[in-house]
Structures are given as structure tokens and as C-alpha cells.
């Protein structure tokens, strides 16, 4: 038993040295430094803006993390979001009530995700290729549904809720949605047999199949969930900007993938943690917010995002290779003596 305890302690140490905890610490550091050194960063209102800005990426990143952990990818999320937004605008123009439109949009997202899932698991096509195709297809359909118009007259009690705060304070209403969803996804990934099976699938799908894991079915449902969440975010996006348009959310997929990778998830599957991803999303959003307040231009933001992405993987690798080199040299020296 004492051996067990020792193991646990060593594991903890290793966990702390892992990339996801580094990124969490880095995120906290950036938040603290920015609050102290940039006026207007630490204000309640800025917090609201920050949360609203990171909401779409954060929500879409949750199922995306699952999908990338299983070694697949979904690049169609932003287009699904746009199509859901278009559908929302169209139905609103048709006079449907918002209470019935919102579930329809989420179901529509789920159906779009199911098509992705079918193409990937049913036909065995590579997900990168499939979702590049549906990226174009869904965005195109969004334009078919709503054309070049924008629908803007959504009821204020909904648009106001999305941009508003709890009791007029500093806690944005959307946190009521984000926090429970993040917790649910985190618990599923890290503490359930289902979560375990995702890692197994990502690391070796064949061995997972031999272990009785229903690989295809699992992946299929992940795409459905991803689509449903993208549909939900389409609704939130539309309400936040009180504007349903076919081009809503264009280009968001790369930002989401970047945040997930920054959070320490391996693009090859089988590795990564949800807290790391959440930290990655917050880190990117906070940096952009802070740099914008400092009047750093958009181009420089591009460079920072890109550099962060590369460095996030590069630095730990360099550190570990320095460590092992150093160890080897020590051994050689010991042998020489």
C-alpha cells in the first residue's frame, strides 16, 4: 500500500510537470500580470467582454477536444455554426417563435454532425478530407438558406440575456452555460470509462476494437455532439450580434484547433486534457484582449498567436532533450572516473 502511495505522489509530480499544467500556470500568470499592468484590463466590464469573446471558441473546443483525442478532426464546425445561424434567421422570418427555433437549430447542427460522422465512420473516409468538404458544403448551404440578407430583429430579452450579466454585476450570463458544460465534458473525458475509451481509440483504434470498444459508433456520436454544440453556438452567436447571417463565424475552425493544440492535445490523438484546453482558450483570448488594449495591431496578434502555438510544443521538447543530454553527460563522466 505504501508503494501505491509513493506511485501516486510521483505521478502527481509528473502531472505537474506536464504541458497542460504549464499552460494553466502560464494563463494565470498572463491574467495576473495583465490585470496589474494594463489599466482597464482587470475591470468587470472587460471581464464580460473577455468571456463573450472566448465563448464560441470555448464551447466548440469542448467536443473538438474529444474528437482530436480520438485522432480525428472536425473542420466543419464554423460552417455548421453559420448554417445554424442562417436557419435561425430564416425561421424567424417565417414567424416561428424563438423558443421553438433554438431547439431546431441545435437539432439541425446535430444532423449536420451526423452526416460528418457517417462519412467518417460509415464510409471510412479520412476526417480531414471529409470536413474540408463539409466546410464548403455547409457554408454554401448557409448562403442558400439566407442569401445575402441579414436578419436582425430578434427579441431583446434573448439578445440582451446573451450579452448581459447576472443581476447587472460582473458575471456574464453565458457563464451559466459555459461552466456546467465544461465541467460535464471534463468529467466525462477524465473520469468515465467512455473517456478512457476515447484515449484508447486515439492511440490505437485496432487495439481498442479488440478490447470491445465500439470505435465507429463512438466517433459517430462525437461528431453528432460536435454538430449540436456548433448549432448551439450558432444560436448564441446570432443572439450576441443580433444578426443572423450566412457568413457568421467564418474562419473560426482554425482558431478552435489552435486553442485545442495549444492546450496540449496531440493532433495524432491519444493525448491531452480538458483543463489544458480551457486554459489554452483563455490564454489566447486574454492575450488578444490585453494586446488590443495596448493598441498592438491585429497583424502582431497574428504573429503572437502563431508563435505561441509553435512554442507551446517546442519549448517542452527542447527542455526534455536538454535534460536527457545532461543526464547522458553525467553518466559518461561517472563512467570515465
Amino acid at each position: 500500500m505504501s508503494e501505491l502511495a509513493g506511485d501516486t505522489k510521483r505521478d502527481l509530480k509528473r502531472r505537474l510537470a506536464g504541458w497542460d499544467s504549464i499552460i494553466i500556470l502560464l494563463t494565470v500568470a498572463v491574467l495576473v500580470v495583465a490585470s496589474l499592468s494594463i489599466s482597464n484590463f482587470g475591470t468587470g466590464r472587460n471581464f464580460t467582454f473577455l468571456v463573450l469573446d472566448l465563448m464560441p471558441i470555448m464551447l466548440v473546443a469542448l467536443p473538438m477536444t474529444f474528437i482530436i483525442v480520438t485522432g480525428e478532426i472536425d473542420l466543419s464546425v464554423a460552417s455548421t455554426l453559420g448554417l445554424a445561424s442562417s436557419i435561425m434567421g430564416y425561421l424567424w422570418n417565417q414567424g416561428l417563435s424563438i423558443e421553438s427555433i433554438i431547439p431546431i437549430c441545435i437539432v439541425a447542427g446535430a444532423l449536420l454532425g451526423a452526416l460528418n460522422g457517417f462519412l467518417v465512420t460509415g464510409l471510412g473516409l479520412p476526417s480531414l478530407a471529409v470536413t474540408i468538404g463539409t466546410l464548403a458544403l455547409y457554408r454554401g448551404l448557409a448562403f442558400v438558406v439566407l442569401g445575402d440578407s441579414a436578419v436582425a430583429d430578434f427579441p431583446f430579452n434573448y439578445t440582451g440575456w446573451v450579452t448581459g450579466t447576472l443581476g447587472g454585476g460582473v458575471i456574464p450570463n453565458v457563464l451559466i452555460l459555459i461552466v456546467p458544460l465544461a465541467v460535464i465534458f471534463g468529467v466525462i473525458l477524465h473520469a468515465t470509462p467512455f473517456g478512457r475509451s476515447l484515449y484508447a481509440i486515439g492511440a490505437n483504434a485496432q487495439a481498442a476494437h479488440f478490447s470491445g470498444i465500439r470505435v465507429a459508433r463512438t466517433k459517430f456520436w462525437l461528431y453528432v455532439v460536435s454538430g449540436a454544440v456548433a448549432g448551439l453556438v450558432g444560436v448564441l452567436w446570432t443572439l450576441r450580434y443580433s444578426s443572423a447571417r450566412a457568413d457568421n463565424g467564418a474562419g473560426l475552425e482554425l482558431a478552435v484547433v489552435a486553442a485545442v493544440l495549444l492546450g496540449g492535445v496531440s493532433i495524432f490523438g491519444g493525448k491531452g486534457s480538458l483543463p489544458g484546453v480551457l486554459a489554452g482558450v483563455v490564454l489566447l483570448a486574454a492575450l488578444q484582449n490585453a494586446l488590443r488594449l495596448q493598441d498592438v495591431s491585429g497583424q502582431a496578434l497574428n504573429i503572437v498567436t502563431g508563435a505561441l502555438l509553435v512554442l507551446s510544443v517546442l519549448l517542452p521538447n527542447i527542455a526534455s532533450s536538454i535534460r536527457s543530454n545532461w543526464q547522458r553527460r553525467k553518466l559518461r563522466r561517472a563512467a570515465a572516473v
Partner: protein, 501 residues
């Protein structure tokens, strides 16, 4: 022999992985015209030495010398250039390339324009296969080859490089007696032409048949290097394990119970046809046959990881849903697959996660996996199988080949099955543990477990099985009882002709 400079000299090499000292101060010498065996328990450090000779790892300390000149390999390319060809323990083929391309990768025959001469490449592969006496189409992609065929392609690859030094890490683990004999005759010819051979195996009869000298390893250390003729098999085992070992195949008698598995007319296009057999509780049934006969395929179809086109499977009297390993597991079946790297384990995951993967649902409380239930389970099973490992949280890929095999066994024994299907269960396992695995299977059978064993190792089949089914080219050609079965009768059925030589 001592007058010419040794083909390869290994001096005081050491290699550690983090806290694990895999090889500590090992020295030995390979001479031209001699086959040199290396034996040791699982995890003794044999493959690590091979990888140092191949330039994959650089020794932490110590030196290598090739033909008398010191050598410091920066990578496998350097070792190759120095005339060393290696067959690794795990096949390393390129699945998308044709078999012929796999064989000549790196030294393809060229035309005058320095383009690849495909015709010559094809002819080269055909010639090598003829020499090894195997039928593999050189133009087919390597993907989908059985483990044994892959191993044969590896051998052809090593032969094609015409190296001065040939190092083979358990090349025979997946082969049956016929292929092994062909391999040996080719190897002997090479040896007599002046190549230096290093041969690793857990089968002592192979070592006495092929090698002149043997180096024995224990726990990463060099124990001794002696002439094979001077040592008995028991001597070797004693030095390698550090103690005496008793009977190798202690088959216990068991009460044969009711029928557990009924396979009826099973067939899959192009692979096997019309396979029917039954297995009863307490019985160990072996599937024997040549490599590629379709034994693994049959059992994979039974377990549901593969489809089948015709026939049915009944388990404990009830029809079993086809194509669903989950249904098979729920009914009480377990399958230890033959290819541990691709099918058995998830290399990046920890030992603990691997062992508990099929049981994670049962171990969860309220759907959540918290606390140490997984760890306790993993610990008890790996202990029982004498697995040599650092921590349970280490990735299983860092274990030695034999120890990985034990983890696969642990993983499936932990599910407490009613029918255990084991495919090449002792592939790459050392003598000591092999005896342990056999004892375990035997005692499980005695407690009423039904066992189906696919094995290419005849002594294992003859020693363990109550009944033996022989497959040839996808057909069930013979059923032999324990009493009827002899090496000759099984081989006769497997080959469909009198055994030559």
C-alpha cells in the same frame, strides 16, 4: 578463429532509460563464420543491445568496434553502412509499399539514369523468397500480411542487404517448425560464406541447432559467454534465471464439462471455409497449422473482431451476435491476440490503463472511475504474471517484448472469462514465464475454464492440448486427441503430405 580481427566487438556498453538500467557493462565478440546466440529472460536487455548495434540507441558508455576499427553510430544508416543488417523483434515494414519495395528499400537496383529498376527489384524478391521457400507475391502491399509473413519479409530484407554481420532478434517467434528449418538452412549457408550471425531466441532447441557460442544475460548484465556444446539446456536456463526450473509443461488433468463454444460451418470469403468445432469447459483445444493457414482469422471471427460470411457461433447454448467483440466479452469470452503491438496493447497508455481497459465499466462507481480500484487490479495481475516493470503508470511501450505479452495476458485474464482464446500466447516469452503461463492456463482449465489456443509451437501444442484441430489453407483438415497427436501426425495434417527430410 582468434587470428582474424573479430567482426564485431562490444566493450563494456551501458544503456539506461531514466531510472531503468537496461544494459550494464556488457562485453562480447562476434566472429566471422560463427553463429552466436544470446539468451536471457524477458527484459534482460537483449533487444536494447541489438538496438545499440543497429545504431538506434547510442550507448551511454562503452564502445563498439567493427572489423577491429572503433565505430560510433549516429543512426541506423551508419550501422547499415558498416555492414550490419538487423531483424528487429517487432516487424518494421512499410504497409503501403509493395513487398518487393520493402525488401530492397535503400539499395534498390538502379538503371543507368539512376532510376529504380523495378524488374530487377521484383526478380530479387522472387529469388529471395524462393531461397526461403515461401509464397508471397512481391507485388502485393505489405499491409495485411500476417505476423509470420511479415517476419519472413523481414528476413528476406536482411538477406538482400548481403551484410557481413546479421543480427536477428527473435526472428522465429512467429514461425512454425517448417519455416524455422528453412531459415536455418539459409542462415547456415550465410555463416559458412563468412558472415557473423547473432541470434536471439527463447527456444533452446533452436540455439543448440544453429549456434556455436552463446552469451547469457541476466538483469542487464553479462553472465557468461560459452561454447554451446559445453552447456546443457538446463545449465543455460540456470545461469539465465539464477535458479533451477522444474517441468516445463505441467498439464493438469481437468474434469471436462458442458459445451461452451459451438462453431458451425463458419466461412469467410478468401480466408477460411466451413469450420465447425466445439469446445467444452475445462478443455484446452489447440488450433495447429502452418503459418497463414487461417487459424487467427477463425478465432478473430468467433470473437467478433472480424466479420464472417457464413455459419454461426453459439456460446453457452445461445447464439452469439456476429461482429461484436463487446457482445462476446459480455457473454464471457476473451481473446489474447497474436499481434500485441497492433491489436493487444495501446503503447502510449500506461500499464495500468491497458490492463483495466476491458474492465473499466465494471470498475467504475456510479459511472465514474475514481480512486485506486484500477491500480489495485492492475497490480495484482501483473504480479501474478511476474511482469518486470518500473511503475504501473509507465507507458506499456517501454516494457520489453516479453513483458508486454504478459500485460496482454493480464488484461484478458482480469476479465474472468468462461472461454479464453489465446493466439500465440507465449510468443517471445522466456522459459520461466512460459512455464508460468502454461501452469496458469492449465489451472484455469482445471477450474472449468475453456481454452482455445492457437500456437505455432508444436511442443506447446502437444504438451498443453486435450484436443488438436489442424487447419490447412482455411480448411479444417484433422481433429486429433491428445493420445493420437505426435509431431509427425500434426505436421502431416498441416502440410497435406509426408514431412520431408
Amino acid at each position: 578463429m582468434a587470428t582474424a580481427p573479430p567482426a564485431l566487438e562490444v566493450r563494456e556498453v551501458t544503456k539506461s532509460f531514466g531510472a531503468v538500467a537496461a544494459v550494464q557493462g556488457v562485453s562480447f565478440t562476434l566472429y566471422a563464420g560463427e553463429a552466436h546466440a544470446m539468451v536471457g529472460e524477458n527484459g534482460a536487455g537483449k533487444s536494447t543491445i541489438v538496438k545499440m548495434l543497429a545504431g538506434v540507441y547510442r550507448p551511454d558508455t562503452g564502445t563498439l568496434a567493427v572489423g577491429g576499427a572503433p565505430a560510433d553510430f549516429g543512426g541506423p544508416a551508419d550501422a547499415k553502412a558498416a555492414g550490419i543488417a538487423v531483424i528487429y523483434q517487432e516487424p518494421t515494414l512499410f504497409p503501403d509499399l509493395s513487398v518487393a519495395e520493402n525488401i530492397s528499400m535503400g539499395n534498390q537496383p538502379l538503371t543507368r539514369l539512376r532510376q529504380i529498376d523495378r524488374r530487377a527489384m521484383h526478380a530479387n524478391a522472387t529469388r529471395l523468397f524462393a531461397r526461403l521457400g515461401v509464397h508471397i507475391d512481391p507485388d502485393r502491399p505489405a499491409r495485411g500480411l500476417s505476423i509470420a509473413d511479415q517476419q519472413l519479409v523481414e528476413i528476406a530484407k536482411a538477406l538482400s542487404s548481403e551484410a557481413r554481420i546479421l543480427i536477428m532478434d527473435e526472428p522465429t517467434a512467429a514461425l512454425s517448425a517448417v519455416e524455422v528449418e528453412r531459415l536455418f538452412s539459409v542462415t547456415r549457408a550465410l555463416r559458412d560464406e563468412g558472415a557473423a550471425i547473432m541470434f536471439i531466441s527463447h527456444r533452446f532447441e533452436e540455439i543448440t541447432a544453429l549456434c556455436q557460442r552463446v552469451t547469457i544475460m541476466r538483469d542487464g548484465r553479462h553472465v557468461c559467454t560459452e561454447l554451446v556444446a559445453d552447456l546443457s539446456v538446463d545449465d543455460m536456463i540456470r545461469r539465465m534465471v539464477g535458479r533451477d526450473l522444474s517441468a516445463l509443461f505441467p498439464k493438469q488433468d481437468a474434469v471436462i464439462g458442458e459445451t461452451v463454444l459451438e462453431v458451425e460451418g463458419l466461412g469467410r470469403e478468401g480466408v477460411f471455409r466451413d469450420i465447425s468445432f466445439t469446445v467444452r469447459a475445462g478443455e484446452i483445444v489447440a488450433l495447429a497449422g502452418l503459418v497463414g493457414a487461417g487459424r487467427s482469422e477463425v478465432m478473430q471471427a468467433v470473437f467478433g473482431v472480424d466479420r464472417y460470411d457464413t455459419g454461426s457461433v453459439r456460446f453457452l447454448g445461445r447464439p452469439l451476435r456476429a461482429g461484436s467483440p463487446r457482445a462476446a466479452m459480455a457473454a464471457g469470452m476473451a481473446l489474447v491476440p497474436e499481434d500485441r503491438r497492433q491489436q493487444g496493447l495501446i503503447m502510449e497508455l500506461s500499464v495500468e490503463r491497458n490492463v483495466t481497459l476491458p474492465r473499466s465499466r465494471a470498475l467504475a462507481r456510479l459511472g465514474l472511475l475514481l480512486g485506486g480500484s484500477e491500480r489495485r487490479e492492475a497490480r495484482s495481475w501483473t504480479r501474478q504474471l511476474h511482469t518486470k516493470l518500473g511503475r504501473l503508470s509507465d507507458p506499456v511501450g517501454t516494457l520489453s517484448g516479453g513483458n508486454q505479452q504478459k500485460v496482454v495476458l493480464a488484461k484478458w485474464l482480469a476479465t474472468d472469462p468462461k472461454l479464453l482464446i489465446v493466439d500465440e500466447p507465449t510468443r517471445g516469452i522466456d522459459v520461466g514465464t512460459k512455464a508460468e503461463v502454461h501452469r496458469l492456463m492449465s489451472s484455469l482449465a482445471a477450474r472449468g475454464l475453456a481454452v482455445v489456443m492457437v500456437s505455432s509451437e508444436l511442443p506447446e501444442v502437444l504438451g498443453m492440448a486435450d484436443r488438436i484441430f489442424v487447419l490447412r489453407e482455411g480448411h479444417l483438415v484433422a481433429e486429433l486427441t491428445r493420445e493420437e497427436a505426435t509431431e509427425e501426425s500434426v505436421m502431416y495434417a498441416a502440410m497435406g503430405q509426408q514431412v520431408a527430410s
